[in-house]
C-alpha cells in the first residue's frame, strides 16, 4: 500500500501499523520524499475476505488517527490548563 505523506504523517502511519500488527507483520519503506510503502504479510489462515476487511479498517484507522492528532493538537493548551488547575492549590482559571 502506498501512503502519501502529504495526507497522513509518518507518526499516524506508524500508530496504525502498530495497532494492526496483530493481524499482519508490516514493513514501512520510503518510496520517495512524498510517499511511503507499507507492506503486509498475513498468515495463511487469514482469508481474502479477512484481508479485505483488514484494509478497510486500516484506511479508516488512518483517517481516525489523523483526526485524533488534530484534536490533540487543538486541545493541548486547554488540557494542560485543566491538569494544572486540577492539581494545584491556586485558582489558575480565575487568575
Amino acid at each position: 500500500m502506498v501512503v502519501d505523506l502529504n495526507i497522513f504523517s509518518l507518526d499516524v502511519i506508524k500508530k496504525v501499523c502498530y495497532k494492526s500488527s496483530f493481524f499482519s507483520s508490516l514493513d514501512i519503506d520510503p518510496l520517495n520524499e512524498q510517499k511511503v510503502v507499507v507492506s503486509f504479510s498475513f498468515d495463511e489462515e487469514f482469508t481474502e475476505e479477512l484481508q479485505k476487511r483488514f484494509f478497510m479498517d486500516f484506511n479508516q484507522d488512518l483517517v481516525d488517527e489523523d483526526l485524533r492528532g488534530k484534536v490533540k493538537e487543538e486541545t493541548e493548551v486547554i488540557r494542560n490548563l485543566i491538569l494544572a488547575n486540577a492539581f494545584s492549590d491556586t485558582t489558575l482559571v480565575d487568575d
Binding site: Y18, Q60, V71, E74, I82, N85, A86, F87, V93
Partner: protein
C-alpha cells in the same frame, strides 16, 4: 408595540459556530461514534453529527450541541465553567491516589485442604507448617501497615487456606486493634477462607472483632466440587454450611463469595447465578481465570479465551436483567465497578483498573515468609518461581526503602495508561487501567501489546456491552444506574 419588535431575535444573542474542542477521545461504535473525555463523560454521535462537530460546523441550535457542551466536549464564549468543572472532576478521580495504600494482605499460610486445578496460588499440602507466617513476621507486617498514611486500613488474611493458621489471625487482629487505639484508623479485617475450618470459636472471634468473611462458591454442587476438589469430596457441603453459619452468627452482610470461571462453568451461568440467589446473595462477580499458579501448570487457563468468557458474561448479564425485571434485585459486581467509573467521577479503587497501576499504592502483600509483593497476583507469580514483582522483605527492608524503591517508582511511572501505546488514544481509557503483572505473565512485558492482550479484549468487550446498553436501552440502562 408587539413583543417581536421589542426584543431582538434569539440568534442575535448567540455567537454561532465559535466553539473550541475540550480534550476528548473517540472511536467508531457500531454505526455511530462514541466520544469520551478525561473525566469519563460519554456521548454517542451519529456519523453526520460527528463530522459536523469535528469540522466546527455544528450549529448552536442543534440539540447535540448542548449535549456536547453539558458533557464538556466543547467550550464556547457563552461560558467557561467547563474548565473548572473538568478540573474538579479530574481531581476527584485521582483523590484515591492521595489516600495511598489501604489494602494489606497477609498470606498467613500456603497450606490448603483443597487441590483445585485452577489454584492461582500454588498451595502446599495441609501438614507443611514451614509455609505458615510466624508472629515475628506478622509484627513486622503490622509495623508496615501503620506506616501507611491511609485513614482507612483493610487487613485481609489470605492463603492457601487462611484458617489453617487461625491462631496467627487471632494474634494479628488483637495486635492491630490494640495499636489502633492510638492510631485511630478506620480498621477493617477480612478473612478469605474456603470455610472448611470455620467453627464456633472462629465465629465468636469474628463477631467480637467485626470481621468480614470472603469465600469461594463456584456454582451448584457438581460444578463447585468439580472445580474445587477436596479429598473428602465434601467441599460444597462445607462451603454452603459455612456460609449459612456465618450469615446466622455474624449477619448476612458479613459474608461474600467469589466464583472463578472454568471451562465447565461456561455453559452454566444461569445455574451459578441461581446458586448465589439461593444462598441469599444479591450479587455475583463473574470472574475469569487469572494466568498464574496452577491455572497455568494444569493448562486450565488455556481452555477458553477472552471471547468465550465474554459470551459467558453477557449471557449472565442478560439473565440478571431478566431477574431484575421479575422483581429480584441482583447485580454483577465487575459491571458495578466499571459503571461507577462511567457514571461518576469517583474511583471505585479496584486494583486492576487503575492508572497508574494499583500495585503497592492501593494494595500490598506480605507473603508467609516476609517477602513483600506489589499485588496478590505478584506473589502468585512468585510461587511459580518468578519474583519480578517482589519489592523487598519485611525482614530486611524498611517501609521507606520499599515504598520509595526504584522498582515501585518505575512500575508506577510506566503503568500510566495516558502514556501507553494504544491506551493513550483508546476511547475507553478512563474506564480502564493497567495490569502490569497480567501483561508480564502473558507477554513478559509489563505494558504488553494491547492487540494481543486478553486483559484488553475482556475489558473492551465489557465496556462496549455496558455503554451499548446505556446508549440505547432505557429500561436496562435504569437497572445499571441502580447498581452505582
Amino acid at each position: 408595540m408587539d413583543l417581536a419588535k421589542k426584543f431582538k431575535a434569539p440568534e442575535k444573542f448567540i455567537e454561532v459556530s465559535s466553539y473550541n474542542f475540550l480534550p476528548f477521545r473517540f472511536s467508531r461504535f457500531d454505526s455511530r461514534y462514541l466520544l469520551t473525555n478525561e473525566v469519563g463523560e460519554y456521548l454517542f454521535l451519529s456519523n453526520e453529527q460527528f463530522l459536523a462537530f469535528t469540522r466546527h460546523k455544528l450549529k448552536y441550535s442543534e440539540a447535540i450541541y448542548l449535549d456536547l457542551k453539558c458533557k464538556h466536549f466543547l467550550i464556547d464564549s457563552d461560558s467557561d465553567v467547563s474548565i473548572d468543572l473538568l478540573s474538579l472532576k479530574l481531581r476527584t478521580k485521582y483523590q484515591a491516589i492521595k489516600q495511598f495504600t489501604s489494602l494489606h494482605l497477609f498470606v498467613v499460610s500456603l497450606r490448603c485442604d483443597y487441590s483445585c486445578p485452577y489454584c492461582q496460588v500454588s498451595r502446599i499440602s495441609e501438614n507443611k507448617t514451614q509455609f505458615d507466617m510466624t508472629e515475628e513476621t506478622a509484627l513486622l507486617g503490622l509495623d508496615f501497615v501503620f506506616k501507611s498514611p491511609s485513614g482507612a486500613i483493610k487487613i485481609e488474611f489470605q492463603g492457601g487456606e487462611s484458617l489453617l493458621n487461625f491462631e496467627l489471625i487471632r494474634f494479628i487482629v488483637e495486635e492491630a486493634s490494640s495499636r489502633n487505639k492510638v492510631e485511630k484508623r478506620d480498621l477493617v479485617f477480612v478473612i478469605a477462607t474456603n470455610l472448611s475450618f470455620i467453627d464456633n470459636d472462629v465465629l465468636h472471634f469474628c463477631s467480637e472483632h467485626n470481621i468480614f468473611i470472603s469465600t469461594s462458591l463456584d456454582g451448584p454442587q457438581d460444578l463447585h466440587d468439580k472445580n474445587r476438589p477436596r479429598p473428602d469430596k465434601n467441599g460444597y457441603d462445607l462451603t454452603v454450611n459455612g456460609i449459612r453459619n456465618v450469615q446466622r452468627s455474624l449477619g448476612v452482610d458479613k459474608v461474600s463469595a467469589l466464583m472463578t470461571t472454568t471451562e465447565s462453568s461456561l455453559s452454566r451461568v444461569r445455574d451459578i447465578i441461581d446458586e448465589y440467589i439461593s444462598h441469599g446473595f444479591d450479587s455475583i462477580f463473574l470472574r475469569p481465570l487469572s494466568p498464574y499458579g496452577f491455572a497455568v501448570k494444569t493448562k486450565s487457563i488455556h481452555k477458553y479465551n477472552a471471547q468465550r468468557w465474554l459470551d459467558f458474561y453477557k449471557e449472565g448479564m442478560e439473565y440478571i436483567f431478566e431477574l431484575n425485571r421479575n422483581g429480584i434485585p441482583f447485580r454483577e459486581e465487575y459491571s458495578s465497578i466499571i459503571l461507577k467509573k462511567i457514571l461518576t467521577p469517583f474511583n471505585p479503587g479496584y486494583v486492576d483498573l487503575q492508572s497508574p497501576a494499583g500495585v503497592a499504592i492501593s494494595a500490598i502483600v506480605f507473603n508467609y515468609d516476609g517477602d513483600v509483593y506489589a499485588s496478590d497476583e505478584s506473589r502468585m507469580l512468585a510461587e511459580m518461581g518468578d519474583k519480578e514483582f517482589k519489592l523487598g522483605s519485611l525482614n530486611n527492608d524498611s517501609y521507606e526503602e520499599i515504598m520509595t524503591s526504584e522498582k515501585i517508582l518505575s512500575l508506577l511511572s510506566e503503568t500510566m495508561t495516558e502514556g501507553m501505546p494504544m491506551c493513550t488514544d483508546c476511547v475507553f481509557m478512563n474506564y480502564c487501567g493497567s495490569d502490569p503483572v497480567y501483561h508480564y505473565a502473558t507477554q513478559k512485558d509489563i505494558i504488553g501489546h494491547k492487540s494481543r492482550s486478553g486483559f484488553c479484549e475482556k475489558n473492551m468487550g465489557v465496556f462496549k456491552y455496558l455503554l451499548g446498553i446505556l446508549g440505547e436501552d432505557a429500561s436496562r440502562a435504569n437497572t445499571l444506574r441502580g447498581w452505582v
